[in-house]
């Protein structure tokens, strides 16, 4: 206490006001540039997002599948009468021995018409493609396949749409890739296109073959 007194008295003596602490000019410059840097980073991020939107790498509405890396859920679906194909059940997809595709479609779904030639092509190439007709009248599904061709080895009818929920489906078309052990490896929500086949599906088919 007493040792600090002289210092206190000296400060109180105050004839000349002490000088303001010297400011670091670099600090000032950094403070000035920080908002600029932040704005530049945000701008770059935004540009990246726009680019991703255009190329399809970034989809803000895309819902990642919760089933990736898991076996197919339990289900049994009746066949589509008149299609000449057997129905589809989980048992058909457990350890299929080779990668297979499961495609959900409906006759009322326009993107399904768009992607149909891709499914026909995959089927011709020998990739097993199974189908699920989602919330569609069986007669309409049948007419759709008569008109556009039937790429499906097995074909289940999910008119109430309950099995689709087991798969985490949120729209049609959706396509799932299963590996030879029957584990779901990939899900595409939206129409399969030339681009999707080349960039995503074909490399995956090769890897899991």
């Amino acid at each position: 206490m007493s040792a600090r007194l002289p210092e206190g008295m000296e400060r109180g003596g105050g004839t000349a006001p002490p000088e303001a602490p010297p400011r670091n000019p670099w600090r000032r410059r950094a403070l000035l540039l920080a908002p600029l840097g932040l704005a530049a980073a945000a701008g770059l991020g935004f540009l990246g997002m726009l680019r991703g939107l255009r190329t399809g790498d970034y989809d803000p509405r895309g819902v990642p599948s919760a089933l990736i890396g898991r076996p197919v859920p339990d289900f049994v679906l009746p066949p589509l009468e008149g299609s000449g194909r057997p129905g589809l059940a989980a048992a058909d997809l457990r350890a299929p021995g080779r990668p297979v595709l499961v495609n959900f479609f409906a006759s009322w779904c326009l993107p399904c018409v768009v992607e149909h030639p891709m499914l026909m092509r995959l089927s011709r190439q020998g990739v097993p493609v199974h189908g699920v007709s989602y919330k569609d009248r069986p007669a309409d599904s049948l007419a759709f396949l008569r008109r556009h061709g039937n790429p499906y080895d097995r074909l289940g009818v999910d008119e109430p749409g309950r099995v689709a929920i087991e798969w985490g489906l949120y729209g049609v078309p959706e396509t799932y890739l299963l590996d030879r052990e029957g584990i779901i490896r990939w899900r595409w929500a939206g129409p399969l296109t030339e681009e999707v086949l080349r960039h995503d599906l074909e490399p995956l088919l090769r890897r899991h073959a």
């Binding site: 303001a20 819902v63 749409g161 929920i165 985490g168």
Partner: protein
């Protein structure tokens, strides 16, 4: 200032206290007959995102998928499943995306921490600014020393005497 603040605070409190608007969507026929179970089903449904419209809960959306999910929630609630079990059923199939209130995970930690970080950062900024202001004020008006105070008192006394 105070006069304007009070009604604003009152309005804020009223808005916070007001119950959320009841869902107007959905066929009354699909509701559960037991009002307690139906209330639970609605509470669950309001936590679940409609994956088709995405900015609505399944209780608020009339998309067919939302309708299906509403039905599933009600079936499970009626079958005696707990809220957590029903949520897990949907979450298992649709992932984190279906939860309108994201869970706290490594990926969402920043999202949850942002308000606290912003508030803390703001408080630190204010503290630093006040400190600087206090330091500058101290420099501008140094405290009087004992000797100066005595001089001031003497001057005041002189002034009073002169008056």
């Amino acid at each position: 200032m105070i006069r304007r603040l009070v009604p604003a605070l009152a309005l804020g409190a009223a808005l916070l206290a007001a119950p959320p608007a009841p869902a107007a969507v959905g066929d009354p026929a699909e509701r559960l007959r037991d009002p307690a179970l139906e209330a639970r089903a609605q509470a669950i449904g309001r936590e679940l995102r409609c994956l088709v419209c995405q900015n609505q809960s399944i209780e608020d959306s009339d998309a067919p998928l939302a309708r299906d999910l509403r039905r599933i929630v009600r079936e499970q609630v009626a079958a005696g499943q707990s809220n957590a079990e029903v949520m897990r059923f949907v979450h298992d199939r649709y992932g984190d995306f279906v939860l309108l209130r994201p869970r706290l995970t490594a990926a969402t930690a920043l999202l949850w921490a942002t308000p606290a970080l912003a508030l803390g950062g703001g408080a630190l900024l204010i503290l630093a600014m006040r400190r600087r202001q206090a330091a500058e004020a101290a420099l501008a008006a140094p405290e009087l020393s004992e000797a100066e105070r005595a001089r001031l008192r003497a001057a005041e006394r002189d002034g009073e005497r002169a008056a």
